[in-house]
């Protein structure tokens, strides 16, 4: 049975529709990350699941029950907010235990449970402090504790890490993952950070402009992007997209400046349309000897330590190449790039959708 299921869920503010019919299911115990740029409707979607926004059309089911008309507290969700949203005048213990207090749980039970939750998050010694006296990471943990103590069916995270500095973000990411392994609670996690999505998710839902672009495991989304949008959004850097035409016999790819790539050995080569967008990951491209591959002009290089990123141009199309063994390349120099046929992805230039092969 799926823990959460969304069926053709839409959200409109007046005439302005921001979520255009979203369908997806999360299995019990699954960690699902909703990934997309700001304004793509991902937070709205999460807030609809939480019950903080009304659903314009469609159904939301949690644990087999349609919850559209239920109050947030009746849905069995707990939420962690971006700004933590801790009650500033209450101590850590009161913050964590507030939902129990509202529910009328007797003080002694409440105290034991608050203590257990706080211990498990390493907050044991801060129970008497106010949120203002805690660091960002500790506040984040209090917010998580406040969600955990309700033993919810579903955890909802709304960009919980974006207020933390880079180092703490990585640490909290690990902690969230560990927590999920321990509790096994179904989780919906909204973020715009693709690294967070890749590292945390069992499955990623990539959203763009109010629709789902792709649902899949991190590896799936990375290695088989279903659209140019997903291809260029996932990965750092995103996938290179080059416009191209198919040459004679469907075995030759003509780039826009007239250079060719041999498609011999590519499985689906024969049933491609005439015009395509070709995608290739920066790390799939290798530098070739003079006279082979595709010529490109280098603009500048970025040093990443473990590798270098060459920012180059093929004709007038920018292309980024990740190379471990490129030496220092002067800006303006020409390089030859090898584009292996079996790591090419093909997309329909009009719809941006992947052409199956």
């Amino acid at each position: 049975m799926s823990a959460i299921s969304l069926r053709n869920v839409k959200k409109a503010y007046g005439k302005n529709e921001v979520v255009h019919g979203v369908d997806f299911e999360a299995a019990a115990g699954e960690f699902v990350v909703i990934l997309g740029p700001s304004g793509c409707g991902k937070s709205t979607l999460l807030r609809m699941v939480a019950g903080l926004e009304s659903v314009t059309a469609g159904d939301i089911e949690i644990g087999g029950r349609v919850v559209n008309a239920l109050e947030p507290r009746e849905r069995g969700c707990a939420m962690v907010f971006q700004n933590y949203a801790l009650y500033p005048h209450m101590s850590v213990a009161d913050n964590i235990g507030y939902s129990l207090k509202v529910a009328g749980v007797p003080r002694s039970t409440r105290e034991t449970r608050v203590k257990a939750v706080a211990e498990s998050l390493g907050l044991g010694e801060f129970l008497r402090r106010k949120p203002g006296q805690l660091s960002g990471g500790q506040r984040q943990r209090v917010a998580m504790g406040r969600a955990m103590i309700r033993e919810p069916l579903v955890f909802l995270y709304d960009e919980p890490l974006s207020n933390l500095d880079a180092k703490l973000r990585v640490a909290m990411r690990v902690e969230i993952r560990r927590l999920h392994q321990k509790l096994g609670t179904t989780t919906l996690f909204v973020t715009h950070d693709q690294v967070e999505a890749m590292t945390l998710a069992d499955r990623i839902v990539v959203m763009n402009k109010g629709v789902i672009e792709q649902v899949g495991t991190p590896a799936d989304v990375y290695h088989r992007p279903q659209s140019t949008y997903v291809a260029s959004f996932i990965g750092a850097p995103g996938m290179n997209i080059l416009p191209a035409r198919l040459g004679a016999g469907s075995s030759l790819l003509l780039l826009d400046d007239g250079q060719t790539v041999d498609l011999a050995g590519h499985p689906g080569g024969s049933d491609l349309p005439n015009e395509v967008h070709v995608g290739i990951r920066a790390e799939s491209i290798s530098l070739a000897n003079h006279g082979r591959g595709v010529r490109a002009k280098v603009h500048f290089t970025e040093e990443l330590g473990s590798s270098r990123l060459l920012h180059a141009e093929v004709g007038s199309t920018p292309i980024i190449v990740s190379s471990k063994d490129a030496g220092i390349i002067e800006p303006g120099a020409e390089v030859n790039l090898e584009l292996p046929p079996d790591s090419l992805h093909f997309f329909n230039p009009d719809s941006g959708r992947r052409i199956a092969h």
Binding site: A50, P72, A85, Y87, P88, H89, S99
Partner: protein, 297 residues
């Protein structure tokens, strides 16, 4: 910002001291005058150094002005007005800020406009209503052609009559609205997720957070209610039992020709009447400034 302006600093200090002096002199004169006997106080010029008759004047005027009852009345009505104002302002602003309904801005502006209609402006209709609470309803019924006669219910000579017309406050509602607007929306949503209903959120989260705001409003409104003069004078006719301190104070000031100006007792009465609001202001002053600058998080 670092500034090095010693002369300007000195000038500001001097201005502050002058202002302090200007503000304190009247109080000093009240105190000095209240401590002399009748003869000394009428000497020209009046001595500015206090004399030895303070206690004597105070006890005389306490009995003469029935200040035991009057101060109690003032205290009861001022506390009720203050509590009522804070409650009404906070819950009205709560509705305006945290709920989405059609007439929200209309309600807010309607309340805001009443800033221009203090009690003194609407005193005649207010008195008419206080004299017969159900009269507006009666008139509406008559207008609609109903022959129902409602009982007469008047608030004259009651605490309710003293308090109720003063309870609504546009200033307070505005102050509370501004404060609520600084509260992150997430906080309300977190409370919602925790299962707290609106009233619980109001009571357990907003009220504790608005403590300094509340103190500022309470201090200002207490002084305002304490200083009410015109309204109590109209609504209270049973002055032996319901007179407020300000009403009694007026009687201590000599009026008409032929009566000697007994400034020493009049000033002693003034001293009695100004002590409670002064105490409230001093106790709450630390919170007042903080509450009026609602930028604290």
């Amino acid at each position: 910002m670092i500034e090095r302006t010693p002369i300007l600093n000195a000038v500001t200090q001097v201005v502050l001291l002058v202002m302090l002096f200007v503000i304190l002199v009247p109080f000093w004169m009240v105190f000095a005058a209240a401590s002399h006997d009748f003869v000394t106080v009428n000497r020209v010029p009046m001595p500015l150094w206090p004399g030895g008759h303070l206690y004597e004047n105070l006890s005389e005027v306490w009995i003469k002005g029935n200040f035991g009852t009057a101060l109690t009345n003032s205290l009861i009505s001022s506390v009720l007005v203050t509590v009522g104002k804070v409650f009404l302002a906070s819950i009205t602003a709560f509705s305006i800020v945290f709920f989405r309904y059609r007439a929200r801005m209309l309600v807010f502006w309607a309340i805001f406009i009443t800033l221009m209609l203090p009690l003194e402006v609407r005193i005649v209709p207010t008195y008419a209503v206080a004299a017969n609470v159900l009269s507006p309803l009666q008139q509406m019924l008559n207008l609609l052609g109903f022959q129902l006669v409602l009982p007469e219910w008047n608030l004259l000579n009651t605490y309710a009559g003293l308090v109720l017309p003063l309870v609504a406050t546009a200033t307070g509602t505005f102050l509370y609205r501004q404060f609520y607007l600084t509260i992150p929306k997430d906080l309300a949503e977190a409370a919602k997720m925790d299962g707290a209903g609106p009233l619980r959120f109001y009571w357990q989260i907003l009220m504790p957070l608005s403590r300094s705001n509340m103190a500022a409003l309470a201090a200002i409104m207490f002084v305002y209610a304490w200083n009410q003069y015109l309204w109590p004078l109209l609504v209270i006719t049973d002055q032996a039992n319901y007179a407020t301190a300000t009403m009694q104070l007026q009687k201590m000031v000599p009026e008409g020709f032929g009566e000697p100006p007994v400034w020493n007792t009049a000033m002693a009465a003034t001293l009695i009447v100004l002590v409670p609001p002064a105490i409230v202001s001093i106790l709450l002053q630390r919170l007042i400034v903080r509450g009026l600058i609602t930028t604290e998080k």
